[in-house]
Structures are given as structure tokens and as C-alpha cells.
Symmetry: C2
Subunit: 316 residues, 2 copies
């Protein structure tokens, strides 16, 4: 359910590398050519282009792009061109260097990536930063945030579809008791959410809904001023219905005065090859306007063209 439109018979990686090199040469940069190539290639193809570019011109393609491009357009091209594991590792590492919003990035990476994708992020983190993702997140977070984020990011979650219904029942009851008592940082609650498989959690939340009258995400709205609760609720959404979580991030980013380009960029770059089709459906349903139209009305220039290309609507 990727929105990315990958060419069936793309040029060879060295031809693409040559075209990109041409796009950087002469007077000004040919931004459209950069979009036409990079926004229509899969992660594996982009990696091959980077290798071919490095061999032909002795410089990392990312470095060349960094020199040529600026502002929001630069950010989305660089972020999207990265290999997914490398991209997540970079996002996480940047987040350990600042305070604002970093917990949300850690949560997104921990909850919306598959177990094997998250493992690749950890492997890349080792090789690039010479330390573990877990130690950096544990070191960078404190209190309840660490208590929640550390197990979320460190567990190698089981991904099979098997469900233990009696466990779903007993753990739904535990969750309900803790949430009723507003013990949102309770260790049993966090254990369940951070270690059970997504299929098992889905069964548990279904049981919660039918036994206690409300969806768990509704009960987790009890305290709108509680920032930790917001993050916990978002984690629950990311684990079961990530497209709804991302729809909301996009909606807030677009509706914000001046729009939040960083959030827009992050969501489109990280989800275009994963589940953007579902996110677009959720967006259309919730806002009665297509995501492409909303983004087209809110952004401009090469940044807008790159976003729309990644959404599979390059010719809107």
C-alpha cells in the first residue's frame, strides 16, 4: 500500500546517477529532474543509484544534494533518498540532540515499524553511531517517558497472527483497571503495550471495547492536559491503526498557521513506501478532501512537487 510510483523499467543506476549529476551542473539546479528520478525509485533502486553515483563522481549523492538544494525541498529529498533504516536511525539520533518532540519520534519508530525493520534501524545505528539506539533513547529520556519508550523500542516483538483469547481477556481487564484509576504509568499496563504482539494487542483492545463500553483510545482521552497520556494514546494508535495516527499528524501539520513542514516531510518521506495509500484514505474520510489537494493548497514550489510525487499524484 505504498503511494510511491516506481517505474517498471527504470534506467540503469548509472544512467540515473549521470542524469542527477547533470541536474547539478551548469547554471542553476534542475530540481524537476531530481524529482523525476528520486521520487520514482524504490529504496533498493535509490541505494543502487547512490552506489553508482559514488563510483562515478567520488562523492556521496546525499552530499551533492545537500550542496545543491535548500530549505524544505532539501529536507524532503535528503530524507526520502536515505535507506529506510538509515533514515530512521538519523531521525532518532537527531532527536537525542534536542528536547522538543523527540519522544514522539522515538514512539513512531518503535511502534509503526515492523520488528525486522526496527532491527535494521538498530543495526544501522550500531554501525553509524558506534552505540545502541536503546542506550541513546534510555539516556535521553527520563521518568515516565523512559518507562514507556525504552521497552517499546527495545522489544523484538513477535509478529505472527496467533492470538491467545484468554490472555486478551485478562489483560484487557488489567488495562481497564489501571486506566480507570488513572495509573497511566503503571508497569503492568506498560508491559502489556510494549511487549505483546500487534495481533494480540488488537484482540486485547477489541475485548476492552466490548467488555468495558469504550474503545481504549477513548478512555485514554480522559485528561487532555496530560502530555504523557497523549503519547501513550498515540502509541496505542500506532500499534493498531497507524494510518489514523498519521492522518492526524498530517491534519494538524496542514491546518497549523503556516503549516508544519517538518512533520509533513517526516510523514511523507517515511510512509510513502509503506502505507501511504491507507493514510490517504483515512485523510479523505476524516477531512472530506483528498490529502493531495490539502497539501497542494498548503505548500508550493519544488517542495510541493516532491510531496505530491511521493503521494503518487505527481500530475495533480
Amino acid at each position: 500500500m505504498a503511494s510511491l510510483k516506481v517505474l517498471n523499467h527504470p534506467p540503469s543506476p548509472s544512467e540515473d546517477a549521470e542524469q542527477l549529476h547533470k541536474a547539478f551542473s551548469g547554471w542553476g539546479t534542475n530540481e524537476q529532474m531530481i524529482i523525476d528520478i528520486l521520487a520514482y525509485r524504490s529504496a533498493a533502486q535509490r541505494n543502487s543509484i547512490r552506489k553508482a553515483y559514488k563510483e562515478a563522481y567520488g562523492e556521496d549523492l546525499l552530499k551533492s544534494l545537500e550542496k545543491e538544494l535548500t530549505s524544505d525541498f532539501e529536507r524532503i529529498v535528503l530524507l526520502f533518498t536515505l535507506d529506510p533504516a538509515e533514515r530512521d536511525a538519523c531521525l532518532a539520533s537527531q532527536s537525542t540532540k534536542k528536547s522538543s518532540s523527540s519522544n514522539w519520534i522515538f514512539m513512531e519508530i518503535a511502534c509503526t515499524r515492523s520488528a525486522s525493520a526496527l532491527l535494521e534501524v538498530k543495526r544501522y545505528y550500531h554501525s553509524r553511531y558506534k552505540k545502541s539506539l536503546e542506550e541513546d533513547i534510555a539516556h535521553h529520556t527520563t521518568g515516565d517517558y523512559r518507562k514507556l519508550l525504552f521497552p517499546l523500542v527495545s522489544t523484538f516483538r513477535y509478529e505472527g497472527e496467533e492470538v491467545d483469547m484468554s490472555l486478551a481477556k485478562s489483560e484487557a481487564k488489567i488495562l481497564n483497571e489501571k486506566i480507570k484509576d488513572k495509573q497511566y504509568n503503571d508497569e503492568e499496563l506498560i508491559r502489556i503495550i510494549s511487549t505483546r504482539s500487534k495481533a494480540q494487542l488488537n484482540a486485547t483492545f477489541n475485548h476492552y471495547n466490548s467488555s468495558f463500553g469504550n474503545a481504549i483510545t477513548k478512555d485514554l482521552k480522559a485528561d487532555p492536559g496530560d502530555e504523557f497520556l497523549k503519547l501513550l494514546r498515540a502509541a496505542v494508535k500506532c500499534l493498531t491503526t497507524p494510518e489514523q495516527y498519521y492522518e492526524k499528524v498530517l491534519r494538524l501539520a496542514i491546518n497549523k498557521m503556516g503549516s508544519d513542514e517538518k512533520a509533513l516531510t517526516r510523514v511523507v518521506a517515511t510512509r510513502a513506501e509503506v502505507d501511504m495509500v491507507r493514510i490517504k484514505e483515512a485523510y479523505q474520510k476524516r477531512n472530506s478532501v483528498s490529502l493531495e489537494q490539502a497539501i497542494a493548497g498548503d505548500t508550493s514550489g519544488d517542495f510541493k512537487r516532491m510531496l505530491l510525487a511521493l503521494l503518487g499524484a505527481g500530475d495533480i
Copy 2:
């Protein structure tokens, strides 16, 4: 530093499988032949023998061994024959079904295995038990034990040799403060021990020793009746000097009235292919008698012969 003596030119896996099948046939079982084959083959070779046996006779070799053998000899042959990841997954899974000593098994697996070996255990656990090692350990443990064991087992530790000396200094200070105040379950203390690389921890503990006058393992002896503190101290030893930890487990197992065959079996089966040579050195140094002699004097029959073969002293 494995003690296991693997033949340079062993028979083919199907020849070994045939010999094993013969050892099970006729009147009585030929235990010596079982030892002569399985105790002199590497993990990869034993896997090949299992495959060849299954193909030739339609039954898992482990099943056949289980039928033929009994008691301590059965246990060590079965445990050793398993693939290391499978063996650890079985040990961990068995531990989630009983209360006594399970925390120690979890700790050993979490702290003495390499990051990649631990990952293989997690993968095997997924495929065999249809859930994650982390969720079972988190579910099975409580309180301070969970607080310590969960991050130990879940972190994908960095294994490079790089060390940040200023971090070692600042974290040695944190450890010293918490230990002085007897806050052994402090979350910063647990964060450091459960997430930093072994090389980094080694530097931190060295700094601790030279700055605060005692080895950290000595300061962690303050309260001999505190079971959690014992486990924490053992984890610190396993992360930095596993041979000293295992020497002590063996010493206690051998010196115990009647000896502790389960502990003997577990240590020999899990370390024969890893670091048993170092453990033997540590044993000789601490007890002024070789581990082989101590075990020979304390066990008997096929069990003794299998242990000694795995220690590389089959002809003692």
C-alpha cells in the same frame, strides 16, 4: 576458547546418523558411542547430523535420544545436542514455567551471550513458541527483578570496542552514589548496566575501582541477605568477567552435598563451545584443583564421561 574437541575430519553426517541409530538398536544402548559422536562435533555438525538422522529414520534425533537415555546423562546429551539458540530458548521457556532459579537463567542468557547470539535466541523463540522472549520474561517476572531483567534481555547491545571515557567517568559516579545509598533498584543504575556496551561498562567499572577505592563487585556485596543484590552483582560479573561467574556456579554445584547436577549440566552444555577454557583456568586458580578432577570426583558413569568429554578431557 572452547573446550570442545571437534574432529578435523569427522565422518559424514549420514555416517554419524547411522552410527547413532546403531547405538540405539539391539540389546541396551551404546552410550559410549553416543558420547564419542555427539561430544566431538560442533553445533553446525550436530545440526547436520540431526537433519541426516531425520531424513534416514523419519524421527528427530532428540526424540530418539529421549527414548533411549535417562536421568542426568539424558539431560546433558539432549541439552548439548541442541543448537545454541534453540537451547537457550528452551532453557528460557522452561524457566517461565517454574519459579525457582528462573531469574538466574534469564540473567545468564541476557548477559553472557553476544548480541547476535541473543538475537538468534529471540528469533528461535518467535518461531517455536509463537511469542517473544521479552513478553514471556516480562510476564513471568515482577518488581525489581523485572525492572532489571527486562532491559537486560531486550537491549540489542552495541559490541564495538569504542569507549567514551568522560561518559565512563560520569556514569561511574552515578553508580557509586546509588550503591552508597543502597538504591540497588535505581533506574539510572539499571539503565547504565542494561544498555551500555560491554567495553563501555568495563571502562566505567575500571573508573569506579580507581576513583572510589573498591571494585564495584565488592561494593555490591554489602548486603549478603539481599537476593536482588546478588542477582545484580552476578549480572555485573557476567557482563565483564563471565568466566568468574561460571567458576563460582560450578564451585557451588560441585561442593554442594550431593552436587547440583542441573547447574553442572547447564554450564558445561552452554559454555563448552564458548569460553570453557577460560572457566577451567579460573577454576584451577580459585580451587587449586582442575575442574576435570573436581567433576570426576563428584560424578559417575555416562554422565561423568559426557561432562569430561565436553571439557576436552575425555581420557582423564
